[in-house]
């Protein structure tokens, strides 16, 4: 079983919920993003979702778009990425899952990306625009290296597709809370419960975490009442953007405090 799964199951067994925090690599600069990520881990997130900036992020709302554009404008390159991962994994024990659109990985080379990620201490990949149907190479290399691979389950996914997603995911399954892109929403969609129960119906042992639109401690708490973790992104970027590392730490603690 993957370290990520062991961690999430352990928290569940103890009745403790989980918080997964997203931050983009290279935002606003490579070194500042390392410090921000380490601060998030130290402040209480259970898993770090480390984003690879990409020119055409179709799953992301404006907050993340602007942040990743800035990272690219400030010179982020994939050649710096694995050293960045290593800096984080050498300072904290929090599992680091990389969230990347597919083309950067395809251009770097799927096998090479997988091996370099493993060597840097990364736990695996979250792939927002790679569905299991197109993932043959990645399935093979992640199996060989024991890396997590997180696929998405959505309100529109058929039970047949949920079965495939559950069968092929490792680490956790990313349940998309609502039909939409990343960014804070006031009312967390009731559809999230439906997606989670659809995934549970597959009898999978893989944990299910809910993301998209989660921004408050209450939402984190609510999600954790029926899922294995809550995934939060845009709010952390806003906190860092507006108040630096101190505000980021405070926001992580606030969201953890709701737990």
């Amino acid at each position: 079983m993957s370290t990520t799964e062991t961690l999430l199951h352990g928290l569940s067994d103890k009745g403790q919920p989980a918080l997964i925090g997203y931050f983009p690599a290279g935002y606003p600069t490579v070194q500042e993003s390392v410090e921000a990520c380490v601060a998030m881990c130290e402040s209480g997130i259970d898993i770090l979702e480390l984003g690879v900036p990409y020119s055409d992020p179709v799953m992301d709302g404006l907050v993340i778009q602007v942040a990743t554009e800035k990272a690219l404008a400030n010179g982020f390159k994939l050649s710096m990425f694995f050293d960045l991962v290593k800096q984080i994994t050498s300072r904290v024990s929090t599992p680091v899952l990389v969230m990347s659109y597919w083309n950067p990985i395809l251009q770097y080379g799927v096998e090479r990306f997988a091996r370099d990620l493993k060597a840097a201490g990364g736990a695996g990949l979250i792939t927002p625009d790679l569905i299991p149907d197109e993932a043959a190479d990645w399935l093979a290399y992640s199996d060989e290296l024991g890396l997590d691979r997180v696929f998405m389950a959505t309100p529109s996914s058929s039970q047949k597709r949920l079965d495939e997603v559950a069968r092929l995911s490792r680490g956790f399954i990313y349940a998309v809370s609502t039909m939409g892109i990343t960014g804070a929403r006031e009312d967390l969609d009731a559809k999230a419960r439906g997606v989670v129960s659809g995934v549970r119906n597959t009898k999978t042992e893989v944990p299910v975490c809910v993301g998209i639109g989660i921004s408050t401690a209450d939402q984190v708490s609510e999600v954790n009442s029926y899922a294995d973790g809550a995934i939060v992104g845009s709010v952390f970027i806003k906190a860092y953007r507006d108040g630096g590392i101190e505000e980021l730490r405070k926001t992580v603690k606030q969201l953890k405090g709701g737990i």
């Binding site: 799953m59 994939l78 998405m152 959505t154 939409g180 892109i181």
Partner: protein
């Protein structure tokens, strides 16, 4: 070539290694629904009848063929025939696909359509179909393009569409597609994404091609009926590639017919400022499909550059990538300057003002026509008229301040 190896039988999801569905899981159900609806429509004779009737009485099909001897003289000892898609309602080939997809949207019970647009031609066509069928319509357009195609923005608004200026990324067509995809992810239940070119995830490249394939079917028959021969070369401009594939498709199995696609070389093929995706790009994944694209070594999309908003796109449809690799079609670059001179040439020799997009294919004929044996014939898709480009053209030639 035997029937079961016909190049015309490729219906996706893959064209060789190209195509597929590199999209968020949230869109898979909608793509499946579209694929299923299209399969049912194809099997339903009433769908074909309805489409044929609209093509005839609304679009103005079949479009005519015009031979242009004075223009042809600029290209050497050749004959040049234009397939006049510029004479379609709304002024370009784009309406063919829009009418077809709007009928599919109706079949799926979707009340709202969204579209991306570069030059504004697809946006205008979409807004037109929305008005005709009583659908709500939102068009995403890069902010840069809303300025250089301001007249088309006004046309879309007049037709009742909402035009959203996209201010992220490079603020051009690729970013308009990103924004349309984001809208679709959020509103997929009641919204159809009326994609305007042969790119995007399966089944879009196949559906859009099929609705445009009427261009080539008509033209091939018209050449045989009216002139008694097939052309030696069939040619079109290529941005995403919809007008080109629409004309090429009927000729794919005519191995004696050469297929030439002309991409926008912008400031020139040797510069970094171009949109020559097939000639200068590498294989990658953009907007849901694997295909050639302009990208840096990290897979970040590189902004394209062209005087023509409709060709200013760093990707291309997967079927073109496949045809390139098979060497069934050849693709060349045409610079801004070459295109503008060809636009002026057709206007002044034949009294036909083409769109700047189309002018790239005209320039290609002037540039490469003299490599053909004497007496060769060329069929060119005159994909759009130039009215929308008058501000750009007027400034370029100094007719306007």
């Amino acid at each position: 070539m035997t029937e079961n190896t016909s190049l015309r039988d490729q219906d996706g999801p893959y064209f060789g290694e190209y195509g597929g569905r590199f999209v968020p899981e949230s869109l898979i159900a909608a793509l499946d629904q579209l694929e299923e609806t299209y399969a049912q429509a194809k099997a339903d004779p009433t769908f074909a009848l309805e489409l044929d009737e609209l093509n005839k009485s609304y679009v103005g099909r079949p479009s005519i063929i015009t031979e242009v001897p004075k223009f042809a003289a600029l290209a050497g000892d050749v004959r040049v025939f234009l397939k006049r898609e510029d004479l379609n309602h709304t002024g370009s080939h784009k309406i063919n696909n829009v009418i077809g997809q709007a009928l599919l949207a109706k079949r799926m019970g979707k009340k709202r359509i969204i579209a991306e647009t570069g030059a504004g031609q697809h946006g205008v066509a979409s807004a037109t179909a929305a008005a005709l069928f009583g659908l709500e319509c939102v068009v995403y357009m890069g902010e840069v393009d809303t300025v250089r195609q301001a007249l088309n923005v006004a046309r879309m608004k007049l037709l009742g569409a909402e035009v959203v200026a996209v201010t992220t990324g490079s603020r051009t067509l690729k970013d308009a597609i990103n924004e349309a995809l984001r809208d679709w992810v959020a509103n997929v239940d009641d919204t159809h994404y009326l994609l305007g070119t042969v790119a995007g995830p399966h089944p879009f490249p196949t559906i859009v091609r099929d609705f445009h394939s009427v261009i080539g079917k008509e033209a091939r028959q018209q050449m045989l009926d009216d002139y008694g021969f097939l052309p030696d070369v069939v040619t079109a401009c290529v941005g995403g590639g919809s007008n080109a594939i629409g004309l090429f498709h009927a000729f794919l199995d005519d191995q004696e017919v050469a297929l030439w696609g002309f991409e926008a070389a912008g400031d020139g093929m040797e510069t970094m400022r171009h949109a020559a995706t097939l000639s200068k790009g590498r294989v990658g994944v953009l907007h849901g499909a694997k295909s050639y694209m302009l990208q840096d070594e990290d897979g970040q999309t590189i902004e394209s550059h062209s005087i023509s908003a409709g060709l200013d796109y760093p990707g291309v449809g997967p079927e073109h990538s496949w045809l390139k690799d098979l060497n069934r079609a050849q693709y060349f670059g045409i610079s801004d300057g070459e295109a503008m001179q060809a636009l002026k040439a057709l206007s002044q020799t034949e009294g036909i003002i083409p769109a700047i997009e189309t002018a790239h294919a005209l320039a290609g004929v002037i540039k490469y026509g003299n490599t053909l044996p004497a007496g060769s014939s060329i069929l060119l898709n005159l994909s759009g008229r130039g009215d929308k480009d008058m501000e750009t053209v007027g400034k370029y030639f100094g007719f306007l301040a």
